[in-house]
Symmetry: C2
Subunit: 237 residues, 2 copies
Amino acid sequence: TIFTRLQQALDPAAAISTQDLAGRRVVITAGPTREALDPVRYLSNHSSGKMGYALAAACAARGAQVTLVSGPVALATPPGVARVDVLSACEMLAAVEAALPCELFIGCAAVADYRAASVAEHKLKKGDDTSGMTLELVRNPDIVATVAARSERPFCVGFAAETQALETHAGDKLSRKRLDLIVANDVSQAGLGFGSDDNAATLLWREADAVRRQALPPQPKTALATAILDHLVTRLP
Amino acid sequence: TIFTRLQQALDPAAAISTQDLAGRRVVITAGPTREALDPVRYLSNHSSGKMGYALAAACAARGAQVTLVSGPVALATPPGVARVDVLSACEMLAAVEAALPCELFIGCAAVADYRAASVAEHKLKKGDDTSGMTLELVRNPDIVATVAARSERPFCVGFAAETQALETHAGDKLSRKRLDLIVANDVSQAGLGFGSDDNAATLLWREADAVRRQALPPQPKTALATAILDHLVTRLP
């Protein structure tokens, strides 16, 4: 409203209390998943969870009812957010499905694409040979694509962390996973992305059969979360 | 000495300042190693580094000159300890060899047995098939066995984290890796071992062609570090 915009212009801090997500149910995934190989070993990735936690905090501050499904991270739960801790991709999908229905789903977690075909009950012993070993992996569920494929689906936002051909790969994911918006970021840039407090991103979405883009410059992940939500609220049904 | 023992009996806090490792050079490894699969994914394990850090702190408090070669952990460097941070097993071995010679080597790190045969420069893309993938792994160097195999070797202490047949596996490692002492612990017991503040252990060593054992009951890792050093100082050359 004009009143809200005037209020924000006069007092920037009041922007925090903009309640443009009031009453909306939001489910967000964050952090890495950890896929056990045996009782002590696992496959994982460098996701710190900071981006997903910043989004959860920003959604809650704007009035949303937020469930944050989180992989193992070293972060405090944002105020007003309901957090569900999980380890593996399969556990994360189950927790997301238990939190549905919702109006907005943001899949920000760096879900491991693969898990071990079989998890050893006891610690794997090295053989006598010094040659090596072969680890058989099976595909994990694609959580954001699974949510987007439901008949009663929320507005679905995915993330694409790439090290090359950013927009090609992200545009492909947007179509293939039937997402409403994808946030693409280049994790090969020093000081941005994984583990960092800062990030840059390109938003990609489909409008009238064309892929549209909006670049968001390098900034703290908290500010980037606000910029992403500013875009989102204009497009939520 | 009698004087030291009387002093300890009269003032237990003075035990901390027992300088029975004064002037000794000690190298300790701690924490997990992290083996990159590509720029974002890795193989690792649940080691918290607490046991190795407790040993480093205890050695330094007893007067030793300590180099702590540490994998990625969320722990503060103990006072008086020189810390070298590494990620992979190969980096850890190089850092250990750079810190030699020493009189006591304690290999407490949970070194990954395997690393990827080739590390992808860019993030691996999933194929179109939904079947799975095969990860080719090669054996990592065995750091404690490498140190123990040197012609001018320190007193070598290894750790064995097992989930079954604890003493058989640990006794086998003692002989095969030519260690002077092995600290065996059962990581399948809830509340002990990986990530926990407490641990129990069995010390195994060879004496007159027989394997001798000493059980150390469940206790805080700081106390366990002291118990291990109390045993060690009686056997250092």
